[in-house]
């Protein structure tokens, strides 16, 4: 924590003490090599455990991931040399690990191979990453496109309503054999919009308007549009029964509003609204009520003689992993059945890598989030700060919602574990998030190198 008690609100706005930050591109390269090697090692470990031989595709797989990672690294080195050297390697490692886990689960489901498609999506994601890093000279450009972003986000969110529901949720659009989850892209666009809007109106938000008890309300003219957009997003998601994403949007909005205004009251309001919303949805939606019952009594279906449900199976998988795990390829997380490769991918990690591996994965996410926040702290202008905070919070909240769900900490909502889970839209989106964080961190760290940003 900063020694914030001494400062006023204005003083708190000055960035952390400046130090001269080296480029550290060599470190990034070294870490990327480690990440690629770890992924290839995991791939070989699965093959050795299952068939006693290194899988024939190991070289091609390693080379593919390596070339993509190098491409990304080159883009960073050339166009964002001051960027945080940890962000890209973490993305590569998580993405590589996800591919290993999906490949490993593919072995159990010969009729449904997901790893090759995931590799294609990863390549797409990394290409997009390289493109964003190279093409987006300055992240502040995005501020200009705030309203384009929000329009696109709302369009993407409403699009799936036109498509048939898949497994009870209307969150996919399908064409030409591909299925895309537009809500994934929408969250980045919405984060950009929130950051731009809140940065532009933060003084008005903080100081104007009526006061209710301890909460200083902004004027409706300022708060109105952003609340409306947020309500529409969450409303649409509830209609589509995508509760995980609506929870994510809610949390994202509250966090960004809190950071922008500095009003703790927003958190109280957010929690209150979240509780009210949860109770209302839990009462009216049988689908959600069932999820909450499962969370409260994960073993009820066993006692009722119907066998373990998905959550119970997931808990069994984590328990089977213990501290050190069963080893890659040697667990039985496929007992979970439906959505093993997507929503429940963490259970496979928990079973086969154990608490040790799981802690490592959580720490990687933690590091990614922390680096995002750090970039936000180092920047001087509010848009960049809010954007970094928003993007990092998306990762943190999403990890919490899905990991908390599959480990029984909170009710289960369908969401994709960033980078790990099967899902093209998710991988591409996460690479976009990392690309933006790279850009922001480059701007943040560049200003201390004697060359102050314009």
């Amino acid at each position: 924590m900063t020694k914030a008690g001494t400062g006023t609100t204005v003083a708190a706005d000055t960035p952390a003490p400046a130090v001269r930050l080296p480029r550290r591109s060599g470190i990034e390269l070294a870490l990327i090599v480690v990440a690629v090697l770890l992924s290839v090692y995991g791939y070989c470990a699965v093959g050795l455990a299952r068939t006693g031989a290194v899988p024939p595709g190991a070289v091609g797989y390693g080379a593919g991931l390596g070339v993509l990672a190098l491409l990304a690294h080159l883009a960073v080195r050339l166009r964002a040399p001051y960027a945080d050297p940890l962000l890209l390697p973490i993305g590569v490692l998580l993405n590589g690990l996800g591919l290993v886990l999906i490949y490993r689960l593919d072995l159990e489901t010969p009729g449904d191979r997901a790893a090759p498609a995931q590799l294609v999506w990863s390549a797409l994601g990394i290409t997009l990453f390289a493109y964003v890093v190279a093409a987006l000279r300055d992240h502040r450009v995005l501020q200009r496109y705030a309203y384009v972003c929000v329009a696109a986000a709302l369009a993407l969110l409403t699009l799936p309503i036109l498509f048939p529901a898949v497994n009870g949720a209307r969150i996919w659009i399908r064409f030409a054999g591909f299925s895309i989850q537009p809500g994934e892209f929408a969250k980045v666009l919405l984060a950009v919009f929130f950051a731009a809007y809140l940065a532009a109106n933060r003084n008005a938000l903080a100081y104007a308007g009526r006061r209710i008890w301890k909460l200083q309300l902004p004027t409706g003219r300022v708060l109105g549009p952003v609340v409306a957009i947020w309500l529409v997003s969450v409303g649409v998601l509830i209609l589509e029964r995508d509760l995980g994403t609506s929870l994510l949007f809610f949390g994202l909005f509250v966090v960004m509003l809190y950071v922008a205004t500095g009003r703790t009251g927003w958190i109280a309001v957010g929690l209150l609204l979240a509780t009210l919303g949860a109770v209302a949805v839990g009462r009216t939606e049988p689908h959600v009520a069932a999820r909450i019952q499962d969370w409260l009594h994960p073993f009820a279906s066993i006692e009722a003689g119907q066998g373990p449900n998905q959550l119970a199976q997931s808990l069994f998988a984590f328990a089977a992993g213990g501290v050190l795990g069963t080893g890659l390829g040697l667990g039985h997380s496929t007992l979970i059945g439906f959505a093993t490769k997507s929503d429940f991918i963490l259970a496979t990690a928990g079973e086969e890598l154990g608490l040790a591996g799981l802690s490592a994965i959580f720490l990687l996410y933690g590091l990614l989030v922390e680096r995002g926040y750090r970039a936000g702290l180092a920047l001087r202008e509010p848009f960049g700060r809010l954007l970094a905070v928003g993007l990092a919070s998306i990762v943190a909240l999403q990890v919490f919602v899905i990991a908390g769900g599959v480990t029984g900490l909170i009710p289960l909502t369908g969401m994709a574990m960033p980078f790990l889970a099967q899902g093209g839209s998710s991988v591409v989106t996460n690479w976009a998030i990392v690309a933006l964080l790279i850009r922001v961190s480059h701007s943040a760290r560049e200003q201390y190198d004697g060359r102050v940003a314009p």
């Binding site: 900063t2 400062g7 809190y258 808990l315 328990a319 608490l355 990092a392």
Partner: protein, 485 residues
């Protein structure tokens, strides 16, 4: 703004910390309970993930494992399943295990820590030991002779080596193929239902898990008690017993199936199987000595394991004199498993000493290295050696010129005792045909085998049923098989 970004960051750290703590809670503290949940299939998957060890008879496995390629990968298969079912029991993915499959499960499934040379290392690597083998004491020829002898009649055979207690044959009919219960599918469920609903109870192990009134075969015990207690001092001295014995304290009279039982000597009464003589003898010996002798033979023993549990054979200790009279001729509450009656016969053959029977010679690792052997089981004196000598003579007489001539084998000394046990309400059931015997080849130093045979509902007409004609030939076939091998 900086301060609030830091607070928000702290909030994210809190979320991740909550995830870590929760993961640790599940993976460290709740793991044991979750692993042991009956709904968690992982233990079953591990258990059936490797071939099960085998049960060996005469050096050859009578079991095997079939790779199904399914989740529960290896399924049990049985060679000559019905023949060995009362020994092996079944190992079913759905219905668990019974008999040797159950009692030796640790060895067969590889979980027995004795199988693992470095158990700590195995805990670390989560490796499982290959299942070990169980070598039985059975004599395959005797087992087959008994099975063939019973044919499609309901009944059981138990054969023991008197000097050691090794079980040489253990057969129960009608039998079933335990392989029908091995897997997990609907066919297995159908088999299970069918076997349980079958009125002939094919899964009942009649040799060790079913008790029958032993009828006249129990007279061996009564005679031993009378001789040991000194109630009878000479085999050929007349016993003062009537031809129709009124049970003490009642008006019920007891008859004999044969003539010439009045005042018969013990020898004559034994050979003719006179009910009145032995009923009165039991009363004369008294409940204390009768009980002591019966228990020395193994009655009322609830602890016997071979290594699976054996139904206790019973001799009622709280009886009045009339009940004692009936108990002494193997009726009233006297009940015995075929194995128990084989033990009675073995005690006579073994000079009055009875050894606890056992079925497992040794267990080995999958490579054949012995990990345990069944040492000498407890030795118990059932009667005086001199009493045993006299009983051997009496049992020989039964085979040589009495009710048991069907058991005669040229070139061997055979002792036997027939029995026809009444049962049912007012003795309305078809009587059980019993035969207990032992055999010693002329060149053998000691008796090689003791057998008990029971046939529940011999298809012959009720009056023709007797241990001598129905059960004795089966015993002879078993004894012959052992003497030849």
């Amino acid at each position: 703004m900086t301060r609030h970004i830091r607070y928000a960051a702290a909030f994210c750290v809190l979320l991740l910390a909550a995830l870590l703590v929760n993961a640790a809670r599940i993976q460290l503290f709740q793991a044991g309970a979750l692993d042991d949940s009956p709904a968690n299939r992982r233990q079953d998957i591990a258990r059936y993930g490797q071939p099960r060890g085998d049960i060996l008879v005469g050096g050859r496995p009578v079991t095997g494992s079939k790779d199904t390629g399914e989740y529960l990968r290896y399924e049990r298969v049985y060679k000559q399943g019905p023949l060995y079912a009362p020994v092996t029991g079944f190992s079913s993915q759905r219905y668990g295990t019974t008999f040797l499959e159950h009692a030796e499960d640790g060895t067969l499934s590889g979980t027995d820590p004795v199988l693992s040379p470095f158990s700590l290392w195995n805990d670390f690597t989560r490796a499982r030991n290959p299942g070990g083998d169980v070598v039985t004491t059975l004599n395959p020829a005797a087992q087959q002779a008994a099975f063939r002898g019973l044919g499609n009649r309901k009944g059981a055979v138990a054969a023991i080596e008197p000097a050691t207690g090794r079980i040489l044959a253990l057969v129960s009919t009608p039998s079933y193929d335990p392989g029908m219960l091995s897997g997990n599918g609907p066919a297995v469920a159908r088999s299970w239902l069918g076997l349980n609903e079958d009125p002939n109870k094919p899964m009942l192990n009649r040799a060790v898990r079913q008790t029958y009134p032993p009828g006249s075969t129990f007279k061996v015990v009564t005679a031993a008690a009378a001789l040991d207690a000194g109630v009878i001092t000479s085999l050929d001295k007349r016993t003062r017993s009537p031809d129709r014995y009124t049970l003490p304290g009642t008006t019920t009279t007891l008859h004999n199936a044969t003539k010439g039982c009045a005042d018969a000597s013990l020898r004559l009464a034994f050979v003719k199987s006179c009910n009145t003589v032995f009923a009165k003898l039991g009363v004369d010996v008294g409940v204390t000595d009768m009980t002591a002798t019966a228990q020395a033979f193994g009655f009322n023993d609830t602890e016997l394991r071979i290594p699976y549990s054996v139904a206790p054979s019973t001799f009622d200790t709280s009886v009045d004199r009339a009940q004692l009279a009936l108990s002494s001729i193997g009726q009233y509450n006297t009940r015995a498993t075929p194995l128990q009656m084989a033990m009675v016969s073995a005690a006579v053959a073994n000079g009055g000493q009875v050894r606890e029977p056992y079925l497992v010679e040794r267990t080995t690792t999958d490579r054949g290295a012995t990990i345990s052997t069944t040492g000498a089981r407890p030795l118990r004196r059932a009667m005086h050696p001199s009493t045993a000598m006299r009983l051997r003579e009496l049992m020989r007489n039964v085979v040589e010129g009495g009710t048991g001539t069907h058991a005669m084998i040229p070139g061997a000394t055979i002792g036997g005792k027939t029995g026809t046990a009444q049962h049912g309400v007012d003795n309305s059931g078809t009587p059980y045909a019993w035969f207990v015997s032992w055999a010693q080849g002329d060149r053998d130093l000691e008796p090689k085998v003791a057998v008990a045979v029971v046939v529940e509902d011999a298809s012959a007409h009720r009056r023709d049923i007797s241990g001598g004609s129905v059960a004795a030939p089966i015993a002879r076939a078993v004894m012959q098989a052992v003497l030849r091998s």
